[in-house]
């Protein structure tokens, strides 16, 4: 029982990562009809926004300390971050400590502009092209973005810790009356979970309670006719793309304390998020979210020793297995709409 509860909790935060990435992907899929293989790269760039902000905040002035030597025997350098010399050591240190949450503010304008540039410069020429072409061009873009990041940040993961206040974990089990140490849960993962619920809710509300969503959906079904009704659909597509990029980016920013970001983290998530989107059903936002959480939780269950003992290696394939079963029993995934991406 406690083991199950534990894995449900773990699944929830894994699921919130999947759901959040899949949400951005399906926004573009479902509304613009574009298969965006660069979505993982956007997630990665979001994460690197946090890294960059951390680097900027820790930019330092260097002084030489003759009492110490570095590995070559030269006098050692002492670095003091500028923020500390400007705002005083305490505020400065706090700023650096809070660089991930601050990264959200930093990432929003950057991601939206990247989304705009990407859509205007590239994607818009591909609305009418076959999906295969879209895949190839966005895949090319993903490689380019990755390599650029690798060029500047290297291939190794870069530690980007959460603020001190959110480090560590709390004993969730003992709150519920279980034995101590049975169900522990890191603070930051809780933050991530609530954050993703917030973003998902926000996006839903935006598309549900504004005409914007309807227009974009209509534009995907038939751009030409929407244009005939006086609507400048291009502009709205651009905005949509910006939003999707921002969602992906924010997912990335918040993910950095969970796992240190590296340049190919996007590719690691890409295939999985496609599976999530498709299992959820093409073009369905609730479907993507549902599938994200479902697969996250199932994956957690599959990693339990008791289950691995019965089916060795099940945790390696569970997601794909579930995807196959769902697609075979439900033709369009969990909540897919008819006719979307079926050809």
């Amino acid at each position: 029982m406690d083991a199950l509860l534990l894995q449900i909790l773990n699944g929830l935060d894994k699921g919130s990562a999947y759901a959040l990435i899949a949400l951005g992907l399906t926004l573009i899929f479902g509304t613009l009809g574009v298969v965006n293989f660069a979505h993982g790269a956007l997630f990665m760039i979001g994460a690197f926004c946090a890294v960059t902000l951390q680097k900027i905040l820790s930019l330092s002035s260097t002084t030489l300390d003759p009492t110490k030597t570095d590995f070559l025997g030269n006098p050692a350098k002492i670095e003091t971050p500028y923020v500390e010399s400007w705002f005083g050591p305490e505020i400065g240190a706090a700023l650096i400590d809070w660089s991930v949450p601050l990264g959200i503010l930093f990432a929003i304008p950057i991601m939206i502009s990247i989304g705009f540039i990407m859509e205007r410069g590239l994607i818009k020429h591909f609305y009418k092209r076959p999906h295969a072409d879209q895949i190839l061009v966005t895949f090319g873009l993903a490689i380019v973005l990755q390599e650029v990041i690798k060029h500047f940040y290297g291939a190794n993961p870069i530690p980007t810790p959460a603020p001190d206040a959110f480090r560590g974990s709390f004993d969730f089990g003992s709150m519920l009356g279980f034995d101590p140490n049975v169900i522990i849960y890191p603070y930051w993962r809780l933050v991530y979970f609530f954050f993703s619920v917030l973003i998902i809710g926000g996006v839903f509300a935006f598309l549900q309670f504004t005409t914007f969503g309807m227009v974009v959906r209509a534009g995907m079904a038939d751009r030409e006719t929407v244009g005939l009704l006086g609507i400048n659909i291009d502009k709205r597509f651009t905005i949509m793309f910006g939003i999707a990029a921002a969602v992906a980016g924010l997912a990335g920013v918040m993910y950095t304390p969970i796992n240190s970001p590296n340049y190919h983290m996007g590719m690691d998530f890409l295939v999985l998020s496609f599976v999530v989107v498709v299992v959820g059903g093409m073009g369905s936002l609730p479907g993507a979210v549902l599938a994200g959480f479902m697969l996250g939780i199932l994956e957690s269950f599959a990693s339990m020793n008791q289950i691995k003992a019965i089916f060795p290696g099940i945790d390696q394939i569970i997601i794909y297995l579930v995807a196959i079963l769902i697609l075979l029993t439900r033709p369009r995934g969990l909540m897919g709409r008819k006719g979307v991406m079926e050809d």
């Binding site: 005409t211 309807m214 929407v226 005939l228």
Partner: protein, 248 residues
């Protein structure tokens, strides 16, 4: 105010309200619209006729500033505004409306949403109530998905959608196609209502007699060029002309 096109018009000396001059348009490399010109006065109905493949649809699409066929040469003026430099959504704001030949009801949206979509951008025309008055069946089906309507219902919805905007010129591509005779009567009545409102209309129709009865003037196309431009009555009276280009 903008200057008027150089070749004023054939039929009258007053400056035309809606004027198309020397349009040339291509689908990729195939040259389809080969220099079409005509004028329509305010409140007038023009019947654009011709055989299958004559280029009627292509002409309307070029006028509506859709991407395909691409307009390579020519001018389009509506109420002193130059449509030929606009994109389709700008032309729509300028008062141009096209009811396309396959109706183009938007999948995934209900009847009502299809109509609401037309009213997102100013200027807005008829209110939903007024539309449902004219087309009671649309009111009954307002929550049904638009594409599941029957052919005739879809045609009504397409016309209704055009009226939901405040338009200056209405381009109708085969509005009677696939409609029951009663409905054709009904739509014809609607078109007469529209005519009374003073909305300038261009109608493309295979049912030439009906179109000509409704229209004031007529232009006949053949292989992308204008072969006749005159009053509707002239066509109705000229059996030779009808036999040659319209086979009626």
């Amino acid at each position: 105010m903008n200057a008027l096109p150089k070749n004023a018009n054939h039929a009258s000396t007053a400056p035309a309200y809606f004027s198309v001059w020397d349009l040339h348009a291509y689908y990729g490399e195939s040259y389809i619209v080969q220099g079409v010109s005509f004028n329509v006065h305010e409140g007038e109905i023009l019947a654009l006729l011709g055989r299958n493949g004559a280029g009627k649809t292509s002409t309307l699409r070029a006028i509506a500033r859709l991407d395909n066929p691409s307009l390579t040469h020519g001018e389009i003026w509506l109420d002193h505004e130059r449509l030929h430099t606009m994109k389709s959504h700008e032309a729509a704001v300028a008062g141009m409306a096209l009811v396309p030949e396959d109706r183009r009801i938007i999948a995934g949206l209900t009847v009502e949403e299809n109509l609401q979509l037309a009213q997102i951008v100013e200027p807005v025309g008829w209110s939903l109530e007024r539309i449902y008055d004219l087309f009671p069946r649309m009111g009954e089906r307002r929550k049904q998905e638009g594409v599941t309507l029957s052919g005739g219902e879809q045609q009504m919805l397409a016309i209704a959608r055009a009226l939901a905007r405040d338009i200056k010129v209405l381009l109708l591509d085969e509005p009677y196609e696939g409609l029951a005779p009663v409905i054709v009567d009904e739509i014809e009545k609607t078109l007469n209502v529209i005519k009374e409102q003073g909305i300038t209309t261009v109608i493309v129709e295979q049912n030439a007699i009906r179109a000509l009865n409704l229209a004031d003037r007529s232009v006949i196309l053949d292989t992308g060029t204008v072969v006749f431009d005159g009053t509707a009555k002239e066509v109705l009276d000229n059996a030779e002309l009808r036999a040659e280009y319209l086979a009626i």
